[in-house]
């Protein structure tokens, strides 16, 4: 399964932000120490820089 990778600063900037009405981003850290968000969050949001985040193979924590 793939997810989108982001930096710590990018992850912190999404905390408390809605990617659609009444549904909030939830950046989490994977087992390799990468900050990630899900494909569903990226697909359903309208923030340009989020749409351009690179994909990464997910390694659950």
């Amino acid at each position: 399964m793939q997810v989108h990778q982001l930096t710590y600063e990018e992850a912190q900037s999404l905390v408390g932000v809605q990617f659609m009405p009444d549904n909030y981003f939830n950046p989490i850290m994977d087992a390799d120490g990468n900050w990630i968000i899900s494909i569903e969050e990226v697909e359903q949001c309208s923030i340009d820089w989020v749409k351009e985040l690179p994909l990464l193979n997910y390694n659950p924590a």
């Binding site: 909030y24 939830n26 950046p27």
Partner: protein
């Protein structure tokens, strides 16, 4: 003789609590309206309405409509309105968690809102998977409060306890599940209106945590993310066997009206 009638519910032929929920969620669809009206009327008739702190029918197809508590449809944490976090997919069939980072905070704190020896959690799953996941609950060890559906082909029904869990073999997780504690030493597990598990484990407290849906709140960390689509969930006091069976009948009737029953 005089009659006190809510003019809105009188005009629509629907229960006033159902009307309030539909208005809060902005739902006008006739099929959903019928399903919710019938559900509320049925639950009041069979005694389960009075047992509920929170009812999440997951109707309307968006996070905004799915978030409301039918029992108290105010848009506040105190009303146990859901906050969805992570990559949920919302549709007419319910709320689908992604198994990666999704949960919904009910703001129902078990220590301050639940009764230790009379408590239930329910979850209507539309997905058949066999994975280590939790669908609703919380825990601060040694106290656990969990519904874990089809984990290694077992479903676990855990209310305010630790170890010696009620569990039952389960090879299809598409069903309506209830974990139901009715006394200090009785916990029953229900699947589709049938009692499938029982435990005499004595309760040992209530977690001082909010209950999550789509995962469980593990000492303030969301854990065991689920991939089972949720088409109904509830939190409340313990129900009699008759009420637990009747709740399934009412919920399944709602799902059938909505053409999303499993």
């Amino acid at each position: 003789m005089s009659f006190l009638v809510n003019p809105y519910s009188y005009a629509t032929g629907c229960d006033a609590d159902a009307v309030a929920f539909l208005a809060a969620a902005g739902i006008t669809d006739a099929t959903i309206t019928s399903a919710i009206c019938t559900l509320v009327i049925s639950m009041k008739a069979n005694g389960t309405w009075a047992k509920m702190n929170a009812i999440y029918p997951m109707v309307g197809g968006t996070a905004t409509t799915h978030k409301f508590n039918l029992k108290n449809p105010a848009d506040t944490n105190a009303a146990f309105r859901l906050t969805f976090v992570g990559g949920w997919t919302h549709s007419a069939n319910g709320a689908l968690p992604n198994g990666t980072n999704t949960y919904a905070n009910t703001f129902f704190n078990s220590l301050t809102n639940a009764i230790q020896n009379s408590h239930h959690l329910s979850y209507y799953s539309r997905t058949n998977v066999n994975l280590i996941q939790a669908e609703i609950g919380n825990q601060i060890l040694p106290v656990q409060n969990l519904l874990q559906i089809r984990t290694s082909n077992l479903s676990y029904y855990i209310i305010n306890q630790n170890a010696s869990y009620a569990n039952a073999a389960d090879t299809d997780s598409r069903a309506f599940y209830i974990a139901n504690r009715t006394s200090s030493n009785v916990v029953n597990g229900w699947k589709n209106g049938v009692k499938v598990a029982t435990s005499t484990t004595v309760s040992n407290g209530r977690p001082n945590l909010n209950i999550y849906i789509g995962a469980y709140n593990n000492n303030s960390v969301s854990s065991a993310y689920s991939t089972k689509q949720c088409a109904f969930a509830s939190i409340g006091t313990g129900m009699t066997d008759g009420e637990a069976a009747a709740l399934y009948t009412a919920v399944q009737a709602m799902q059938t009206t909505l053409s999303r029953q499993v």
